[in-house]
Amino acid sequence: MNPPRALIAEDEPLLAQALQTELARAWPELRIVGVAGDGASAVQQTLQQQPDVLFFDVRMPALSGLDAAARLADEWPQDRPFPALVFVTAYDQYAMQAFEAQAVDYLLKPVEPARLHKTVLRVQQALAGRTQASQGAINFEATLAQLRGLLHAGAAPAAAPLKLIQAGVGTAIRMVPVDEVLYFEAADKYVRVITAGQEALIRTPLKELMPQLDAQAFWQVHRGTVVRAAAIEQVTRDESGRLSLQLRGSAERLAVSRLYSHLFKAM
């Protein structure tokens, strides 16, 4: 069996170096194949190197560790087992230990050797179980469930759902009733608000908009897409297993992230 390979994503150079040193002590066979200084390059390097273990700092420039992991879940090739994920954080604002699906491990900074040793044992166990395809799939599903929980932790729903979207159009403000919105899509610095036949741009980020929407009516299907559930006409799966949506009243096809594909199962 080939030696296991790991990638470290950490924006503070001294800490990246220290984790490497500690890992060399706790897990001598492990090979570090890359160190990324930000979330976006962590995703890129992971896809290139296809390591077995990821150590992701939670707070990083460009893309947080959580968002990077979510993006990886989408872009990871289906025929390869998903790497074992370990989040590293200075302060556990997500209360990681509270999650029932402990598919993803976490380390608190400064990293203590005894705690790291425990993590190494858990990861080794997970890697050993991965050789069976079914176990790999179960692990991946559990990882997705935990990522979903982490990504939506702390967003308390607003007391009253939003009724009107106020979108700036030139010097005017257009009022778009939320009931008419087919979907919201994040686009660079804006969020596109799409209704049947019309489109508007707003500056409120999707993350802030979501808690104000009725969670029963609007479903997040991708990190940048929130869809009115009742407007979905059909969900199709292509040969690589990816889901996409066809909406009533819109020609566009919307991709469904693997993170949210659990929403669509035949009854």
């Binding site: 503070e12 170096q17 900074k109 980020p205």
Partner: protein
């Protein structure tokens, strides 16, 4: 109109009834030759009607008022009016009732004197009871207010301390220290000294109100040096304090939240990092302090928390220098953020 608080109404009414009983007993004690029945019946009806008008009238007139009582003349008119109506209506009903029971309440000979004394008793008792309930309501209101103010002050202090001893900053710095101890003990010692100075200054800042600009820049230097160890080549900084301004007094750690915002929301989220500059200059009688960074720039989407730092600086400026102080936030087209403070030089 506010929602009727029935348990409170019942409690108040029971107290009013007890008071009415007390007034009747008092009358009986002074005029034992008369029967106990009539004063009790009169007391009961007058007190009940007066109470009902005042207590329900309060809900109607003082719905928005925190004390639960109408303010100024409206309150007085309500109470006096309620007592008058209570007296007239209550004694009329009591009259009827007494004659039904065959109690001769009013002695025909000194009818006038009795009338006067009963009006006096009603008025005094009504005023005394109203005053009692009014002060009770008011003191409860004041207590509530004080509790609220105390809670707000506690919250503000806690948030200030939390923002200064931000856990990410603290534990990441400790993690760097831990790493340095093994690889570069001399640098670890220097970093530890910076951290001690930073922590000491942070904890002292809640007590000391002002220090020299020199001290302010030294504390910023400690903080930036800690951040420079953590961020490596991603952070460059410069501190520019002309020597003639070194002794100028400033509110302690006034600039700290601005420098922290510049790093936390400006430079840390930026992949390539950037530079941060703090400078002081004097133009005539005005001292100007500038904190600028080449980071992400201040946007409405800047995460919550940065607003707190800015608001806190603005508030401290205002409370120290009043209208003579100004805080200006600019986002130059080339990116980054520039915060400019100006206030009278000493």
């Amino acid at each position: 109109m506010k929602k009727t608080d029935w348990p409170d109404k019942r409690r108040t009414y029971l107290q009013v009834l007890a008071f009415a009983l007390f007034v009747a007993v008092l009358q009986y004690a002074f005029l034992p030759e008369r029967s106990f029945g009539p004063p009790l019946v009169y007391s009961f009806f007058i007190a009940s009607i007066t109470w009902a008008i005042i207590d329900f009238g309060r809900d109607l007139l003082a719905a928005g008022d925190e004390t639960g009582w109408p303010r100024g003349w409206r309150g007085i008119v309500m109470v006096v009016g309620a007592i008058a109506v209570g007296y007239l209506l209550g004694s009329a009903i009591a009259n009827r009732l007494c004659s039904v029971f065959g109690w001769q309440a009013v002695d025909a000979t000194n009818r006038e004197a009795l009338l006067r004394s009963s009006i006096l008793i009603t008025l005094l008792a009504g005023m005394a009871a109203s005053y009692y309930f009014y002060s009770k309501g008011k003191s409860a209101y004041l207590e509530r207010k004080m509790g609220e103010a105390r809670r707000q002050a506690d919250e503000a202090r806690l948030r200030l301390l939390e923002s200064q001893l931000e856990p990410h900053m603290l534990f990441n710095t400790l993690a760097n220290l831990r790493a340095l101890i093994a690889t570069d003990p001399a640098r670890a010692t220097a970093m530890l000294d910076r951290m001690i100075a930073y922590l000491r200054a942070t904890l002292a800042a809640s007590r000391a109100t002002s220090h020299s600009l020199q001290a302010e820049f030294e504390r910023l230097h400690d903080y930036l040096e800690l951040m420079a160890v953590r961020m490596g080549p991603r952070l460059r900084y410069s501190l520019e304090l002309p020597p003639e301004l070194a002794s100028q007094p400033v509110p302690a750690l006034l600039l700290q939240p601005l420098v922290e915002n510049g790093i936390l929301h400006g430079l840390e989220p930026k992949v390539e990092g950037g530079s941060l500059r703090v400078a002081a200059r004097r133009e005539g009688a005005v001292l100007t302090l500038v904190v600028s960074d080449t980071g992400m720039g201040y946007t409405p989407a800047t995460p919550a928390g940065s607003g707190f730092g800015l608001a806190q600086v603005r508030e401290r400026l205002l409370s120290t220098y009043g209208a003579q102080a100004a805080l200006d936030l600019a986002t130059p087209p080339g990116g980054g953020t520039i915060v400019t403070l100006s206030f009278p030089a000493a």
